[in-house]
Symmetry: C2
Subunit: 208 residues, 2 copies
Amino acid sequence: MSRRTYHHGNLREALINAALELIGEKGHAGFTFADAARLAGVSPAAPYRHFRDRDALMADVARRGFEQFEAVLTKAWNGGAPDPLRALRQLGQAYLAFARDEPAYYASMFEAGIPPGTDPALLQAGDRVFAILRQAAEAIATKLPEQGRPPALMIALHIWSLAHGIASLFGRGDAARRKLPMAPDDLLEAGVLVYLQGLGITRPAASG
Amino acid sequence: MSRRTYHHGNLREALINAALELIGEKGHAGFTFADAARLAGVSPAAPYRHFRDRDALMADVARRGFEQFEAVLTKAWNGGAPDPLRALRQLGQAYLAFARDEPAYYASMFEAGIPPGTDPALLQAGDRVFAILRQAAEAIATKLPEQGRPPALMIALHIWSLAHGIASLFGRGDAARRKLPMAPDDLLEAGVLVYLQGLGITRPAASG
DNA sequence: TGTACATCAGTGAACGCGCGTTCACTGATGTAC
DNA sequence: TGTACATCAGTGAACGCGCGTTCACTGATGTAC
């Protein structure tokens, strides 16, 4: 990270990347504003031009995490193609892949203790992620007999909770991961299949 | 917390309580060794008689958390009485109640980023908690037709993940809780019922 | 029951360190004419 | 195309603060005889 010009060019980005790297190394508690400045190759006063304080930087990291998560999940869901069940499976895999590959983002989004209501933009970014899960649940719900069908919202919450539980207990890419005698993907997929069967959706023929 | 004697009497306990109080207030990142000493009414050097450093104190808090969690869950499961399904429901409620009422413990156990392998006693305490869930899953599994029955271990992991997901997203007793249009208890119970139905266990008559 | 002594669990002063934050400043960039 | 000027995004020195940690110490407790 060498610098030729007096002006950094894109310090805001660089600080966010520095934060991610430090969070990845030492956990979300283990990075300081000064650390981030140092890693970005800049004086300790410089970050104040871009963020009010450390918390503001953290909130921005979390916001970006949600945005990237949204992009990844949207792509995986793929508008429900080729069919909702396959798309849901893709969605689940993408969820866990993100938690595994981006533990710094995932931790900042869900474990840094940032009250979601702090920043409207943060709240909105989080809501957009949930909207994808909700959309998937809607698509699944329409396949159920109308009477006795649980609300799609609840289905979405169940699936999210299961995925998040698995990700945060067993699927993280950092040191706090718990050992598991199977792949997190398989655990999630099996759980969702049982759950869907409970809703009355018959298991599709195994494939790919 | 006034003190009459020169010797504190039970500083170890007092430090753990202080840590819990501080974690509850400011999150698991927001307490220091010195803070804990101050709150316990003792000089900053005193804690060193009882804990190697801050991390050792944190690990001990987490260990105690697991122990208390174990006690609470054991009582709720009640040996599977009066029947496994009702006992499981009690277990789920106790799980969420603990996360809600003891957010400081819960956070130290699952979100403080303490690698579970650090301390053998910590690992063991965590394993004992899981053993209860596993035992419950065994009891449920025996009610299933033998062929095609998924391993009890997997059932236990599904239920744990769902409960943990709900607890950590919606059920915590601190500021990072997300809003939910229903009670976390109800969300968990509904999810478990659908899941059990997917396993082939028919919904018991509503009661209590 | 009393005394001497060892051990234990605390004190309080001291230290080095790095963090957060501020300030007047300055080099670089953009723009008006 | 060149010049003057405003604005922006950084510097670097300085500060107060509280943390972690150490040290020789001391008051309290337990025990041997």
